[in-house]
Symmetry: C2
Subunit: 152 residues, 2 copies
């Protein structure tokens, strides 16, 4: 028996779960982000994937980044804005977001309330890439993206 | 570009999602179940996992089964009862359930309302095993499980 396996039933209470630690969003602070936490709900090796919950306080945002691996996302709490590639879209509870390979993406809690989302990801994945100054300039050439990136 | 990939944003409405088909629970009717549907939210090969949503109408239930692969579950809608191994537990929205390898499990919408849950599973997995008459007798030797198995 794998002693790493969680107990079968873990209750939910106010966007926390029994036995699940509320962690910093990233292990280091080299990438820009604001007011966001991470909870790892499932990470058993035999699943092949990890299932995490990220939550931003009002005004918070995830890192603007891209990578080879894809993300499968479901909004779980609140409302906000999401950038995927060239598109900025309002999102709200239970909406689905697919982040394809090598696509710039960011979530922002723009509506004066927390924004929380579930994210499923392959356990074997590459490290995220941050935008260079040139990448940022190219993104900001799109006025919708420029406005999104400066929203609090 | 993989034309199988869903569009980045798929909106939620009343426990259905844009572009997501509402399917029969199983492809064949050899296993017992009642009033339950399946929606596949994410199944891109590069994820390594599939992310599905199953929903039972009031009085419905999933198949009582076990298998080598594990399930990672989050209740998304309503309340009901869940059997995992020797334990029957009330579950409600956002609770987590871990189904370990070779563990009998079943969900039942016992509270006069629908019960819906998200289930993450490895894309490569074995077929479920149904209980034999002997397995059922052994399960029903536990009065709590016997009562659970006859609940509507």
């Amino acid at each position: 028996m794998d002693i790493e396996q969680p107990t079968p039933f873990r209750a939910f209470r106010d966007f926390r779960w029994d036995e699940v630690a509320c962690l910093p969003y990233k292990e280091d602070g080299a990438a820009p982000f604001k007011a966001i936490s991470r909870q790892v709900l499932f990470a058993e090796p035999q699943l092949g994937c990890e299932w995490r919950y990220f939550e931003m306080a009002a005004g918070g945002y995830s890192t603007l980044e891209r990578h080879e691996h894809m993300h499968a996302v479901m909004i779980l709490r609140g409302r906000g804005l999401c950038l995927v590639g060239e598109t900025v879209r309002p999102v709200q509870a239970f909406d689905l977001v697919t982040i394809p390979s090598w696509t710039w993406h960011q979530f922002r809690a723009t509506e004066g309330e927390p924004l929380g989302f579930l994210c499923m990801v392959n356990a074997l994945r590459d490290r995220p890439q941050l935008p260079t100054e040139q990448d940022l300039a190219a993104l900001k050439a799109n006025p919708t993206i420029a406005a999104f990136l400066t929203q609090a």
